[in-house]
Subunit: 204 residues, 2 copies
Amino acid sequence: MTENETDTEQKIFEAACRIFEQKGFDGARMQEIADEADINKSMLHYYYRSKDKLFQKVYQKEMGRFLPVIFDLWNADLPLDKKIREVVEAYYAFLNENPRIAQFVIHEMNQNPERFQDFLAKLDLKVPQNFNRQIDREIKQENINEIDPRQLIISVVALTHFPVIARTMVKSINNFDDEAFQQFMEERKQFLVDFILNGINYQK
Amino acid sequence: MTENETDTEQKIFEAACRIFEQKGFDGARMQEIADEADINKSMLHYYYRSKDKLFQKVYQKEMGRFLPVIFDLWNADLPLDKKIREVVEAYYAFLNENPRIAQFVIHEMNQNPERFQDFLAKLDLKVPQNFNRQIDREIKQENINEIDPRQLIISVVALTHFPVIARTMVKSINNFDDEAFQQFMEERKQFLVDFILNGINYQK
DNA sequence: GTCTATATAACGATAGAC
DNA sequence: GTCTATCGTTATATAGAC
């Protein structure tokens, strides 16, 4: 019966992830999570004691998945143009598989900045030092404009993540259905790589 | 006594704006709004009947302020480089005066896409047709790369708005206090204008 | 219009049978 | 482990005195 235990617990957790991602902590209802998991509400308390503790688990999982992806590739040993393409594609792949995670991160981060800061500190993410040096070199060799690497990183994150976070607005304004939105985002991928490399005046 | 009536009603409304912006509909408490307005909780119901109706008013005010700003300047009769600078500066000015509005819009839009779509339809915002034509001309004259004007607009919104929405993350990652963040954003303004114009390969 | 007191409903959490 | 029934709290909302 160990399998059934694990199974129930996991069904609850996965349902909680979906509901918390959609509604946030304040908007989520324990009953709703129970319904989503197709499991009796008491089981949520049996396995996780409280809404708060269940949320903590979800929070750690989602933040722990989201944040490393943001930084992972910047330190890679790749030429700048290839790196930009890889980062954009990695962001796209991740956001495609996790369409609501960015929205969750943004909202819960703003609701409780201290908790976010504490969590970030524990993650011990590497500041992209290699990338800073790479940008320095490229500037000295006059391959790109003089830019602050931090401005570039946040710009790439913004350009890729914002349309996903603001998907409702992008769809409404352009009268996109889901399919048209998906196509728009696919076209955007190539646009972004060119836009970013031109943006820093990259000379091959 | 008409003055006192209006005064109380407005104090409530302004407090409600601040609380709903920070906490969202689900996270906001009527008692908290009453405290923020320094007014008895019953008065909220006396003037606005319900939390929902009070929120509707706030929603309409905030959305009605936010959305026009996004589109206003794109149709202006300005050369492209000047237009980009003006738009970026207009976005900056608005977000500086309303530091939490973008976060509010994003969250409530995602919580209820249908309501957002309905509201947007009623606003009857002009699609930036003039801007589309301007981009067409610039492409034909080979002043810029072949780009989709919709991709450019959303990119400019993303580059300016994302750091504000994700302010907590930007601050935490870079170990910025409020002052350092403000300076980073100020430096970013010039970075963005160059980055965007280079991004579309603008030739003066 | 403003206050206190209270009704009503929703939600998180627990007890206890099986 | 799982279910039903229910407790205790909190939140919205209203009634009624002033």
